[in-house]
Amino acid sequence: MGAAEAAGSALLTGVAGWLFVGFALLILGTAIAVVWSKNPVHSALFLLASFLLVACVFILEEAEFVGAVQILVYAGGIMVLFLFVIMLVHQRTAAGTPAFQHQWDIALLLLPVFLIPFLYILGTEKFTDIARNPDAFRAVAGRVIGNTEAVSWLMFRDYLLPFEVASVFLLVAMIGAVVLGKRSFEKVD
């Protein structure tokens, strides 16, 4: 490691590094399981695991607030939604129907294809690995307080309008979901 790294703090070394590798492998494993398993309930459970593991990675990265949100919203909200819907439609997978589309081969082919630009970027770009200001996640106006507070300051001051827009978006999504769900009842009858 060079002098530049010494100036700031190196990130995720040692045990934290190994932890990250472990989480990463688990994330990928559960993700593959999500895509792979035939039963949507299994998929949902693997997805839950995956969410939690991603939250762990966030916390490793000292983004505690986002990690918490991840657990609350994803694991708490979205997962429940999924499970409700699975129960609602309680679809039994027909025995003969394959889980995968006909185009799985092409899709699979696409992955190595995507890998090319990715590796190209990895090979040519040099990203920094040092946080110049290690306290940036916690500091508000130079005072170190905490990650949640810092994010809040930013969100409710600089990003107030997007925040409100997001709230409207959620409202719209809610109404849309209600309408979609309701109209389908009418049409069936």
């Binding site: 490691m1 190196a10 990130l11 070394t13 934290a16 590094g17 990250f20 590798v21 990928l28 593959i32 999500v34 895509v35 949507p40 998929s43 949902a44 997805l47 995956s50 990265e61 000292e62 983004a63 986002v66 949100v69 991840q70 919203v73 994803y74 979205i78 939604l81 819907v85 439609v89 889980a99 995968f100 589309q101 185009q103 899709a107 699979l108 696409l110 995507f114 890998l115 990715f118 970027i121 990203f127 920094t128 946080a131 940036a136 996640f137 994010v151 969100m155 990003y159 997007p162 997001a166 978006f169 959620l170 999504a173 209600v178 979609l180 769900g181 109209r183 389908s184 009842f185 069936v188």
Partner: protein, 101 residues
């Protein structure tokens, strides 16, 4: 073990790829939605990683917004799922092909 940004990129790339693959190939509408969530997670990982390395909280704020969007998307997607199921008695995406040319 020192983890560099490259590791994060590889992780998020692979997670995104798996998610994308799931979106492309799964027949079950629910699984497709879940795969989308995976892709969003991959994006969030990138945000967080760069946020730290650039010492800028904006990345975190953005990932919060992404999670918001994910929630909305899940709500609409699941409503569509129910709608599809009620009309077609199936969750198979392939059968929702009214747009077939």
């Amino acid at each position: 073990m020192t983890i560099t940004i490259n590791h994060f990129l590889i992780l998020s790339f692979l997670l995104f790829a798996i998610g994308f693959f799931g979106v492309l190939v799964r027949r079950n509408f629910l699984t497709v939605l879940m795969s989308i969530e995976l892709m969003l997670n991959a994006v969030n990982i990138n945000f967080i990683a760069f946020s730290r390395r650039l010492s800028d909280l904006t990345g975190q704020v953005f990932s919060v917004f992404v999670i918001t969007i994910a929630a909305g998307e899940a709500a609409i997607g699941l409503a569509l799922t129910i709608s599809l199921f009620r009309q077609r008695k199936t969750l198979n995406v392939e059968e929702a092909n009214t747009m077939k040319g």
